[in-house]
């Protein structure tokens, strides 16, 4: 897989490497951004509100005079903590659920799979909003809700991969030497279904970023005064008509570039896993 991704030149590999570069940039921003930004992303300066991009404020300032460039860079951290955490949690639960339903079969599979289908049938944002209204909006709750919604999707992918593995003869061979179901699922089967899981998780990460941004925009995700991109867009979108596009545009661009970067990586992984 590694060789396929980084081997000789091709158009597909170029787009994968580009995606990886974009993703790496934002991850770096998430780690060190708040320490290297030119100005404090939280410091308001009402005298300087809504200043257009200049040498001092590269991306201009927002309506309370905060430096937009610093906020965009620092804004990578909140979204890149919630979305990957949610995806990782969903991957963990989804993989377990997929392994159990795929390997056990029978009524275990029937019951759990119907349950999964019920959750899949519900519109994502509506469920998320409902739960967040009940639990109260916070980063932690947003993480849990997104994980809950993504778990069945990942479980379904894992289950179908496990079903294909169970048709192979190494599974009965393991049963014949008295292995426990846990051993067969996690030691024998899991390593062989990892590639599709990695691909699915990367695709989900793209969606998770999008979902976090949407929830924050609607006010149910990351809370002010965080420099989160969705939040920034929500706070400033009314100003676009007044000609203050920089307050919204750069955060929107940042969100889009991150989602596109993740999707390019996912696509590359998908080709390599084939």
């Amino acid at each position: 897989m590694t060789q396929k991704l980084f081997g000789s030149f091709s158009r597909k590999r170029t787009s994968f490497l580009f995606g990886l570069l974009v993703l790496a940039f934002w991850v770096a921003c998430a780690f060190v951004g708040p320490f290297v930004v030119p100005q404090d992303p939280y410091a308001d300066d009402l005298m300087n509100a809504l200043a257009p991009p200049s040498a001092e404020h590269w991306f201009g300032t927002d309506q309370i005079g905060r430096d937009v460039f610093s906020r965009v860079i620092a804004g990578a951290r909140p979204i890149l903590s919630v979305a990957p955490a949610a995806t990782f949690l969903a991957a963990l639960c989804g993989t377990m659920l997929g392994l159990v339903t795929g390997y056990a079969g029978g009524w275990v599979d029937t019951v759990l799979s119907r349950l999964v289908e019920v959750i899949l049938a519900l519109p994502l944002i509506v469920v998320a909003l409902l739960v967040l209204v009940a639990l109260g909006p916070s980063s932690l709750n947003a993480t849990l809700v997104i994980a809950l919604v993504f778990t069945p999707i990942i479980a379904r992918t894992v289950r179908s991969a496990v079903l294909a593995e169970c048709k192979l003869d190494y599974v009965p061979a393991a049963q014949l030497r008295d292995e426990t179901a846990l051993h067969i699922m996690f030691v024998e089967i899991l390593p062989n279904v990892l590639p599709p899981i990695v691909v699915e998780v990367t695709v989900r990460l793209g969606y998770a970023i999008f979902t976090v941004a949407s929830l924050s925009f609607l006010g149910f995700g990351i809370q002010p005064p965080s420099p989160d991109w969705g939040l920034s867009i929500a706070e400033n979108y009314g100003l676009i008509v007044g000609g203050y596009g920089w307050t919204v545009g750069f955060a929107a661009l940042a969100t889009a570039s991150l989602v596109i970067g993740v999707n390019l990586v996912a696509e590359g992984l998908q080709d390599a896993a084939r």
Binding site: D169, P172, A173, Q175, L176, R177, D178, E179, P191, N192
Partner: protein
């Protein structure tokens, strides 16, 4: 004299920079049949594609000439090549289900072949063509989709499409691999008849030497992309002039050879890797006749009449060093494993399906029971019942050393579990590709033999040595091993727990003959060492005859016949056994009526009556033939013992 249907002159083909074919030269006269044989990886299929100039994009003809009907194929324009493909040549591949479009009916696909030619009324011609390939009810078949047909019928449709244009050259690339023996025999008969009728020249590519010998006038033997021998079919296989051909023929378990006659010949080493530098004689590193000249000078083409061999020397070649024959295991009298009245019924869409119907068998210590039958006969389901992977219907009993054996793995003790193991058909599926060979072999030693520490290390190296796997192989993943080595690893795993009974499910069907011989020798050797019993499932009667002490014949879930191997094969035997035996000989092929019915369709009477060439009358349809599993050689047939058929096996050893 008309030009040859196909002539290759010094044809060399490379994939990228890797040479695959090196200076291939042969001719096929109009209407003749030429067979190209060799082990997998020798360049057979590349030769087929190259002959029609249909190589994949990476393939390139680097030297030589191709002529079809005297026309220089390499100088043809795109349009000229399309005309050639559309009107004059056809190709049939191994897997018919992939050659047919699953979304179109047979009629539409077949009619298309005529539409391309501009023939009037293509649908009527399609129907006529189907009649010529001898399918039952061609009209009904026109409306069928490929997935509704059996593999044999699919291949007939593909052949019908290939012959629609009345080609002057037909290329068949392993056309019957994957088909059952009786179906294979029918397809080959059909190709042979149509070839004579239409005067089509045939290039038949196969790894199956006896099959090629029966079909072809001339044979070419390919080794590492080099044609090492060619000549008249009977001469090449009967009196080989090249050491490689001689060894290849000696690998076949033919001529009624049994394990007590000693081990089979094998060829040490393997084909050189693609792209590797070859010795002046490519076969020299594996050759017994090798002398200094073989490693310094390329061998000359030595022609004797129309027989060519690429070798410095002439036969007779020295007999290869005799393999030390461990005395084969003597089958004891005490039964190890006994099954009584085992059945397995599945719920199918059209009612219950009996995959295994009242099967009984006994297996003595050190004995091999050959289990023969075509796909769908229930062989594999029976194996799963014995292993406990599938629970039998209530009523059947299994005993191990006279003690009752649980119906499923979970109900069996660890000792019972380690007693019965299996070697699967396909090692790619049987070995976990994520693990290294070392852990694949270590795990059963831990779980089944309960070993740890130093004893485990010692047992592991003993186990690997037993199947001749080296330390280097243990560190590899299965993917990095050749087919033969993979199967050795699978065999080692099955033997890790010192089993009493090992079920071998077609363990050599995916292997080349030279590798097959080595695996069969290994199995016979392990049996002699450990006194283990085998249930050996195979569709290849020559292989079963070599290894089996007794043979059971299955059809549609029922055992039709069980008995000592020689008696079952020599007859008098069940009409179905007679058909099976005759399918692998050239003498008198017994035709079955129609195809094996779908499992579950038979309710009363004999399961074979719909296809039986010896059907007596209503009694076959209404009354189940008697069967006494405890007799020495029971035959499930209404025919009186004296009237059971006997196949003339004079030519049964023709493949030697």
């Amino acid at each position: 004299m008309s030009p040859p249907a196909l002539s290759l002159a010094g044809l060399s083909v490379s994939y990228g920079r890797t040479p695959i074919l090196r200076g291939l030269s042969f001719e096929i006269a109009p209407g003749a049949c030429f067979g190209l044989v060799g082990e997998s990886g020798c360049g057979k299929s590349t030769a087929a594609f190259a002959a029609l100039r249909a190589l994949p994009p990476a393939g390139r003809v680097t030297a030589g000439q191709i002529g079809i009907d005297g026309q220089d194929v390499l100088s043809l324009s795109r349009a000229g090549l399309r005309q050639l493909w559309a009107r004059r040549v056809s190709m049939v591949y191994q897997d018919p289900s992939r050659a047919l479009n699953p979304t179109l009916t047979v009629g539409v696909q077949l009619a298309e072949a005529f539409t391309v030619l501009g023939a009037p009324d293509p649908m009527a011609r399609a129907e006529a063509m189907l009649a010529r390939v001898q399918v039952p009810s061609p009209r009904r078949l026109l409306a069928a989709y490929p997935h509704q047909l059996s593999g044999g019928t699919q291949q007939r449709v593909v052949i019908a499409m290939a012959l629609a244009k009345n080609p002057s050259l037909l290329v068949l690339d392993e056309p019957t691999t994957g088909l059952d023996a009786t179906v294979e025999a029918e397809i080959l008969d059909l190709v042979d008849a149509l070839r004579r009728e239409q005067g089509t020249a045939v290039l038949l590519i196969s790894h199956n030497l006896p099959m090629v010998a029966r079909m072809c006038d001339r044979i070419g033997v390919l080794y590492a992309g080099i044609l090492v021998e060619q000549g008249e079919a009977g001469e090449v296989l009967g009196a080989p002039s090249h050491p490689y051909t001689a060894r290849l023929v000696a690998c076949l378990p033919g001529a009624g050879r049994r394990k007590r006659d000693g081990p089979l010949q094998t060829i040490a080493g393997g084909l050189p890797a693609p792209g590797a530098a070859l010795a002046p004689c490519a076969f020299a590193p594996r050759c017994d006749r090798r002398e200094a000249v073989c490693l310094s000078t390329p061998p000359p083409e030595r022609w004797t009449g129309l027989h060519m061999a690429l070798c410095h020397f002439t036969p007779p070649f020295p007999a290869p060093p005799g393999l030390s024959a461990g005395a084969p295991a003597e089958a004891g009298a005490r039964p190890v494993l006994a099954a009584r009245h085992l059945s397995k019924t599945y719920a199918g869409p059209g009612g219950a399906v009996r995959a295994v119907d009242d099967a009984s068998l006994t297996l003595a210590a050190g004995e091999t029971l050959g289990l023969v039958g075509e796909s769908g006969s229930g062989k594999t389901t029976l194996a799963r019942l014995l292993l406990g992977l599938t629970a039998p219907d209530p009523g059947g009993t299994l005993t191990l050393d006279d003690a009752a054996l649980g119906p499923t793995i979970r109900s069996r003790s660890r000792n019972d579990r380690r007693a019965i193991q299996i070697i699967f058909q396909n090692p790619d599926s049987a070995l976990n590709r994520a693990q290294r060979v070392r852990s694949i072999l270590t795990r059963p030693l831990v779980r089944l033999a309960g070993l740890s520490g130093r004893a485990l290390t010692a047992a592991l190296s003993e186990l690997a040595q037993g199947v001749r796997l080296g330390e280097a192989h243990l560190a590899m993943r299965p993917r990095a091993l050749s087919g033969g080595l993979k199967q050795r690893a699978a065999i080692a795993r099955a033997f890790a727990g010192r089993p009493r009974v090992v079920i071998c499910d077609e363990p050599t069907s995916a292997l080349d003959v030279s590798v097959q011989a080595a695996i069969l020798n290994l199995l016979a050797g392990l049996q002699a060492r450990d006194g283990v019993s085998y249930v050996f499932i195979s569709h290849d009667l020559a292989v079963v005859r070599y290894l089996a002490d007794r043979i059971a014949v299955m059809y549609l879930g029922q055992m039709l016949e069980v008995g000592p191997a020689e008696d079952v094969l020599a007859g008098p035997h069940h009409p179905y056994t007679a058909a099976l035996v005759s399918a692998s000989t050239a003498a008198t092929r017994i035709r079955l009526k129609g195809e094996m019915p779908a499992p579950g369709a038979v309710q009363a009477g004999c399961v074979f009556q719909a296809n039986c060439p010896r059907k007596i009358g209503p009694v076959c349809e209404n009354v189940r033939p008697p069967f006494d599993p405890d007799a020495v050689h029971p035959v499930r047939c209404h025919l009186p013992a004296g009237e059971l058929p006997r196949v003339d096996r004079r030519l049964a050893g023709a493949n030697s």
